[in-house]
Structure formats: C-alpha cells, structure tokens
Amino acid sequence: MQPKFVVGASIVCVLTVVGVLSPWLAPYDPGKQTLEAALKAPQWFGGAHFLGTDSLGRDILSRVIYGARVSLLVAFAVVLISGFVGISLGAVSGYFGGRVDFTIQKLVEVVWAFPALLLAITILAFLGQGLFNLIMALVAQRWIQYCRVVRGQALALRGRDFVTATRALGASDQRIIRRHILPNLIQISLVIGTFSMASAIISEASLSFLGLGVPPEIPTWGTMLADSRSYISTAWWLALFPGLCIFLTVLGINLLGDAIRDLLDPRLKRTVKG
C-alpha cells in the first residue's frame, strides 16, 4: 500500500466516523449558548471548552464535530451528483461530436453563463432554506466543470488509434464509451472531483456570506467560517478550527484520489510492471 493511500484513507475515515458519531463524540450540545461565556479562548489544558467558544458562547469543539456531518454530506452529495451528470454528458458530447456535441455545449454555455448566485437565490427562495435545496443549488452549476473537461479529453481520445481500431473491429458506441473512453477519463475526473469537493464546502460558506446558507441551527464549517470573518483579528480560534477541518478534508480526499488514480491507471501500471 502506498503511504498516500494510508494517510488519505485514514483522514477521510476519521472524519466520516466523527461525522457519523458526532452526537456521541461532542462534549456539548452544539447549539447550546451561554452568552456570558462568549469568545473564550481555547483551554488546551483542562477547562470546559477545549477549543474555546464562539460569539454566543457555544462550544467550538462540539460545533466542529457536528459540522463534519453536514459539511461532508454536502461535499459528497454535490460531487457525486454533479460528477455523474457532468461526466456522462461530457463523454457523450465529446465522443459523438456533431449535433449531439453542439446541443450539449449550448446547454453548457447557457448554464455556465448563468450567474450561480442568481440560480442559488431563486432555488432557495422557491424551495425554501434547507440542506437538500442547498445541495441542489450547488449541483445546478457544478456539473459544467466535469462536462467541459471530460468532453475535451473525449474529443482527444476518439481520434486515437485504439479507439479507431476498436470501432473498425465492429464494437458498438456504447461499448467503446464504456470500455475505452470512460476508463481513460477517470484520472482527470478524479482530480476535478477531489477538487470540487473542497469547493462545494467553500461554496456553502460563500452562500452563508450572502445569507443564503443552511438554516443557522445547523452547524457547518462553512457557516462557522463565514460568521468568523469580523472576528479574525480579535478571536482567531473562531476561524482557525473550521478552516483547519476544511483543509484536512481537502487534503485527505486529494491524497485518496491520487492513490486511487494510481491504482486505476492502466498505463502507469504497465510502466511499473516494466
């Protein structure tokens, strides 16, 4: 096993476990306010609040633990859904070219040019504030990225000798896409996927910055970061811990992504084997 895989997998596993088990792990109710105990600095060596408290006197450790749950859920859901939509459309678009490509690319242009903010505002204004609606608002814009990149790769692939050869041997389009095009798109998709997981978490923060995030009763790393922004100079711990969690998540997911890609890559394997 590569060390990358071990490190990445353990980070992701730990975070997932923390997210799932948060009600049992958190020392306090994450919503419990004690106004008199607001903005307490971290108490590393014994003390009620290991990572300090926020502006309402809520325990930051508990909020970070509960935040794992929602932030990871948002990140995975957004990446999986938008990845599925984007990769399928991109592969089809690039492989077939012509009219199919034209139509799909038109759709891409429409959505791409459309301000994500406006889309999010309308979706949330209609469906109401909530976790699922937030995920939908993020997906609505995010599949574009996969679609564009995958299409570029697919365009390049379909001109390759091995694809031409397979087609000459009478393989169906569906089979070619599934057996020859998609596996070659995995690398780049993984890179984008691991990245957009981070940006999904961040986007949630940006929407909170505009007041469009999840309802305030649900603690997320993104909202914690957005709420901390006028406290950076006076209460650094408000921003540091959720920020650190996001960084760790991103790091873990990327390491894991790298490792998986190395495992899957047919050519890399070939060279390794000699």
Partner: protein
Amino acid sequence: MQRRRGTKGDIIAVYLLQRLFGTVPVLLLIALLVFVLLHAAPGDPTTMLLGQETTAADLAEAKRRWGLDQPVHVQYVKFVLAAATGDLGRSFRFSAPVKEVIAERLPATIELAAFSILIAVLCAIPLGVCAGARPNSWIDNVGTSFGLFGISMPNFWLGIMLILLFAGTFHVAPSAGRSTYGIAGPSQTGFYFLDSVMQRNWAALKDAFLHVLMPALALGVNMIGILMRVTRSSVLETATEEYVVTARAKGLAERIVLWRHILSNALIPIITVVGLELGTLLSGSIIVETVFAWPGVGSLLITGVTSRDYPLVTGLVLMYTVAFVTINLIIDALYAFIDPRIRY
C-alpha cells in the same frame, strides 16, 4: 500534407462559424431564463429601491412608471425587440443605460482577472510540472499542500486575511478600491494600467498595482490549487506516453523532454481549466469585488441581483454569455492547434 492541413483549417473555420451563429438562440434562451427566474424570485425593483418609508401607492405608481405592471411575456418581447437594435434598456439602480454601466465597469474586472490568471499561471504551471516530473518528491508534497491550502479557503475570508496582513500588519497595500483619489489623471481607456503608462504617470501605475494586488491574490490563490493539480496529473499522464519514452531513449536532455515534449502535450486539460477559471473569474469575482469595493462587473451583478434590477442583470448575463462563448471558442481552437489529432 499541405492540402490535408488546409482542409482541416476549413473544417475548423466552418465549425467556429457554426458555433458563432449558434450563439443567437443561446442568447435568447438565456434572456428568457433570466427573465423568468428574476420575475419569479420574490421582490422587484420598486420594493428594493424605494426607501423603507414607501407606501403601497408609491410602489404601484413606480411599477407603472417603470413598465413593470405589464405581464412578463410582454416585457420579454419588448426587451428582445429593443435588444435586437442594440438597446439593453436602462438600469433602475444606476439610472443610466445598461450598456454604459457595464462598459464602464468591465475594464476593472478584466484587469483583475488578468492579474489573477497571471499570478495563478506563473505559480501553478511551474509547480505542477515540477511536481508531475518528480511525483512524491518534496517539491511535489510542498506544492500539493500549498495548492490544497489555496482551495481550502473561501475567497471572502482570504480577502479579509490579506487585508489584515498586507494593510494592517505590513502597511504595504490599501484595503479597498481600485485607485487612490487624486493620483491618476482622467481615465482614457478604463484600464488603469494602460492609462498610467500612456500618461507616463508612474505614481498612478504603482497605485493601480498596489490596489489590484490583494484582490488578485485572493482570486489567484484559489485558482493556483486546481491549476497546479491539473498540470501535475496531466504531466504525470503524458510522461508515460510512448513518444516521451522514445524522446528520452533518443538521449534528449531531461529538461527539453519535460518542457517541450511533455508540457506541450499536457496542455489540453490545463487550457480547459484556465478557460473555465477565466469564466469563473468573470462572474465568480462577485464576492472578492464586493469585499474590496472593486468597481467591476462582479460587484455590479450582486448589486443588480439584490436590487432586482431586471435590465441590468439581463444585460450582464448576456454579456457573460458572449464572453463565455468566445472563451469556449478560443479554447476549442487552441485544442486543435495544440493536438493535431483532434477533429471536429
């Protein structure tokens, strides 16, 4: 050989023309979508722009005055007919023609985007190539961590951090705006860098540079991450191709193999991502522009959306569409030139 390349050029030209004409329905569709969504979202310009003292009668009167009492489809048709003659209407918030408002703000965003891209490309591509050439080396690990750090931070947050650091601690850059009052002469082009060079006003050039530095960093650092990773992965992938192995076998210097053979072939995904990011920069600089009071189209969009300025938002989205379609076209054209195997 010569003839075959000629045909390929023709095919590309026809393809590009097709794409350009294809833009018209896209524009119509987008305008319709914006119209429907904007009108469907709660609120209209009258509720957002008249003060809190306003009575229902004032609102109704303003609606009538601004033609908002007509059905949406009538408004849409009116808009399309006017737009066909090049008239995008008047912004409610700015009390000025939409075209003028956008034209005035566009250079600021282009300047900012150019700087961010520059910062990102200059940092990310060398880092990515080095990391890809020597996977799992220290340079790979450091570069990767830096890249991941860049994308882990929301840019509004990064912006505030930069303000605290550069303006607060080091006192090197101003905390907001695009220029200091009283330094630059009258703007001729709208691009402050160009202006100050044309007017040989070096103080203004420095001033413009200092102002663009922080917002460009806030946007660029976010981009470094993804660009570096894509470069790395693309280089890694290309490095195992037969022709690279052949080039190496021929005894070419490793540096030449890396920069000439590998990088040029690894460019497709990189260019795609740069293009994508350029698009994101045009519209995605919304938050950074707002934080830094950067008078560009991003902050314009947020002003437009939050005040439900229908003509302004529609105009902006149409502008974005044209810009994105153009970027897309350029990317596709670049593909064809970089990788001769691509056909359309």
